[in-house]
């Protein structure tokens, strides 16, 4: 299995820099998921790897060979498109065998490759149908099958599941995982859905505004995000952010005052703090606010999302409001591992435990992690 190396790739259109020097390396057989908000450059990067875009500078290497200026069909990559991109005038078998046909391979070889791919994807009985006669999930399988037939060095997926409904999507996630295990191929997968990233990736690349924010395994990124962007991007619901001010600093230890509520929290910084009087952002994942320890802050229930066994409660914590969060009003999201009777205005509380908080400096870098991590 070959490796894929992206080396300082830049791409600009007229006045807009879509990729500002991106580098990462996918080891052989790795399943790399690129995530980021829309417009972050993840699709541009994927399309550049495929050869559908020409990069302005940098190198794209497969097994050490720079393919950045090769013809798309010569790069040894196959791509699965968001809208399947099946040729409507060809049968499933023709769709899957088209690339080999264009490459001038003998018919027997094409048939064998198509058969093998169809078996892997369990679409053998659909081979003679036109794409129009297939369901969304079947179409997606054919699109994947078309990629498999080519036995490429690298598989590229461009948000392949976004057109499927929720149930089908989770099923396909599992199938793709199985496929990856079976083919042991190097795969690059683009999505804006962080659940897909978390569940499928062996490594996640978080892109933002044309730059890589962080790469690492899903748990690495979830537990130790290097900056506020990554911390906020991964995890549902998102991390709660509170804006605070440093009131005291001794060595790596600071006291932070949060607005409205008169509490001081002692944090242990990993690097330099912002200094006394400096702004600091505290981050708390919803599950970190529902514990038994820490400072209790009273509030009222605003919204309850009951998930059955557990619940997500949005708490109106008075003056302690989150910013940059999913709920506009600044309610604090708290995860409770038990059922909650939903009642608007019912009194409740959250607990801020300094050992379970993240802290971010004014430049967004993470300066403190929860103690357990």
């Amino acid at each position: 299995m070959p490796s894929l190396e992206i080396d300082n790739v830049k791409k600009s259109y007229d006045n807009f820099q879509a990729l500002k020097g991106v580098s990462f390396r996918a080891e052989p057989g790795e399943f790399v998921v690129m995530v980021g908000p829309s417009g972050c450059g993840k699709s541009t990067l994927l399309r550049s790897i495929a050869g559908l875009e020409t990069i302005s500078s940098g190198a794209i290497r497969i097994d050490g060979r720079d393919i950045a200026h090769d013809d798309p069909s010569q790069r040894g990559v196959a791509m699965v498109f968001q809208n399947y991109a099946l040729y409507p005038h060809m049968t499933v078998a023709q769709n899957m065998g088209f690339a080999l046909k264009m490459a001038g391979r003998p018919k027997a070889e094409i048939d064998a490759a198509v058969q093998r791919a169809a078996q892997i994807l369990r679409i053998t009985e659909h081979l003679e149908k036109k794409p129009k006669a297939l369901s969304g999930g079947q179409k997606q399988r054919v699109a994947i099958g078309r990629a498999i037939t080519r036995s490429p060095d690298v598989f590229l997926f461009d948000e392949p599941l976004s057109n499927l409904d929720a149930a089908l999507r989770s099923q396909m996630r599992i199938e793709l995982g199985r496929l990856h295990a079976e083919l042991k191929a190097t795969m690059v997968y683009v999505t804006h859905d962080q659940t897909e990233a978390m569940t499928m990736a062996s490594r996640i690349v978080v892109l933002n505004a044309g730059q890589i924010e962080q790469t690492g395994s899903p748990l690495e990124l979830y537990n130790r995000p290097t900056n506020r962007f990554v911390a906020g991007f991964l995890g549902t619901p998102r991390m709660n952010f509170f804006a605070g001010r440093v009131v005291r600093q001794t060595g790596h230890s600071v006291s932070v005052q949060l607005p409205g509520v008169d509490i001081n929290l002692e944090l242990t910084l990993e690097g330099e703090g912002p200094g006394v009087g400096g702004e600091i952002v505290l981050g708390a994942r919803p599950e970190a606010l529902g514990g038994e320890t820490g400072i209790e802050i009273a509030g009222t229930t605003a919204v309850v999302e009951n998930l059955g066994r557990e619940a997500l409660v949005y708490v109106d914590a008075g003056a302690l409001r989150t910013f940059d969060s999913e709920s506009q009003e600044g309610y604090v999201a708290v995860h409770r591992s038990f059922q909650v009777e939903s009642r608007f205005g019912a009194p409740t509380s959250i607990r801020l435990d300094a050992s379970r908080l993240y802290a971010f400096g004014p430049d967004g870098r993470t300066i403190a992690f929860p103690h357990s991590l």
Binding site: T54, H69, Q74
Partner: protein, 294 residues
């Protein structure tokens, strides 16, 4: 394959794919247009080799030529008239066929569309016969029911003949507009009507609030076709009235032909052509901006 050579190849391929169309349009449409513009600054005949430069003289002459204004007015009359009759009736019939009548739709549609495929020369000949004041069936019918037909004839009375041209044009083109609109109507999802019915809009109000907005683009295309047809109209006038009586039904197309080929004023005819060109480009520009907005 290196980066630059593949790009060059692509460029050559693009140029090669564009070339045939551009060559044809360039040589046979654009170069003659430029030549017409050049010619409009001169006075010369078809057979005359003696070109006299007159600057904007031909344009000044057009501005002072009452027949030019009549012709332009007639073009505009035909454009507006055909939009009203053709797009209007086409929409009406399409609406009736789409949601009104339940039986005989195919029959009606086939019949109404039929004249579209008949050559306009053929159409003109048949209508000349129909409109003939002495032996035509129309007058026979009119007299048969005790009415008096127009004294100067349907195509001979300057007050009537333009309307008759509209009738002939409508006869031929309503079917086309109808099919255009019908396609637009059938593209409107049925759920929209159901939703509108729930909101209390039915019949006429559903037509105004659902149907018309839904076929807006189609109506624009139909209107554009009428405009272009009304600007370019020639055959119909040339064969039925010849621009007469006494230039009353002259349009720019036929008047250009008259000036160029009957009277031999090629420079003046070129100037008329250029004016028509400018008007046509104006409408084209209008259409472009309108469609961009839409």
């Amino acid at each position: 394959m290196s980066h630059s050579s593949s790009r060059m190849l692509d460029r050559w391929m693009s140029a090669g794919m564009l070339a045939p169309a551009l060559l044809l349009v360039g040589v046979l449409v654009l170069i003659p247009s430029v030549l017409a513009v050049v010619g409009s600054f001169y006075e010369f005949g078809i057979t005359s080799q003696n070109w006299v430069f007159v600057g904007l003289g031909n344009y000044a002459r057009a501005m002072a030529d009452p027949i030019f204004w009549t012709a332009l007015k007639n073009n505009i009359f035909l454009i507006i008239g055909s939009i009203i009759t053709q797009v209007g009736l086409g929409t009406l019939f399409a609406a009736l066929l789409d949601r009104g009548v339940r039986r005989g739709n195919t029959f009606y549609r086939t019949m109404i569309f039929m004249p579209v495929i008949i050559s306009s020369i053929a159409v003109a000949f048949v209508w000349i016969l129909i409109f003939d004041p002495n032996v035509g069936p129309l007058n026979a019918v009119i007299k048969g029911v005790g009415l008096t037909p127009p004294r100067l004839g349907w195509l001979g009375d300057p007050n009537i003949s333009l309307y008759m041209l509209l009738v002939i044009a409508a006869w031929q083109n309503v079917g086309f507009q109808m099919v255009l609109v019908l396609a637009g109507l059938q593209a409107i999802p049925k759920e929209l009507y159901e939703a509108a019915a729930l909101d209390g809009a039915k019949g006429w109000r559903a037509f105004v609030h659902i149907t018309l907005p839904g076929i807006r683009n189609v109506l624009m295309v139909g209107t554009l076709i009428c405009i272009i047809g009304g600007l370019k109209v020639f055959d119909l006038v040339f064969v039925t009235t010849g621009g007469g009586p006494a230039n009353a039904t002259q349009v720019i197309g036929s008047y250009t032909y008259l000036q160029a080929f009957t009277l031999g004023n090629m420079g003046y005819a070129d100037a008329l052509s250029v004016i028509l060109l400018v008007v046509a480009l104006g409408f084209g520009w209008l259409q472009l901006t309108l469609s961009r907005r839409g």
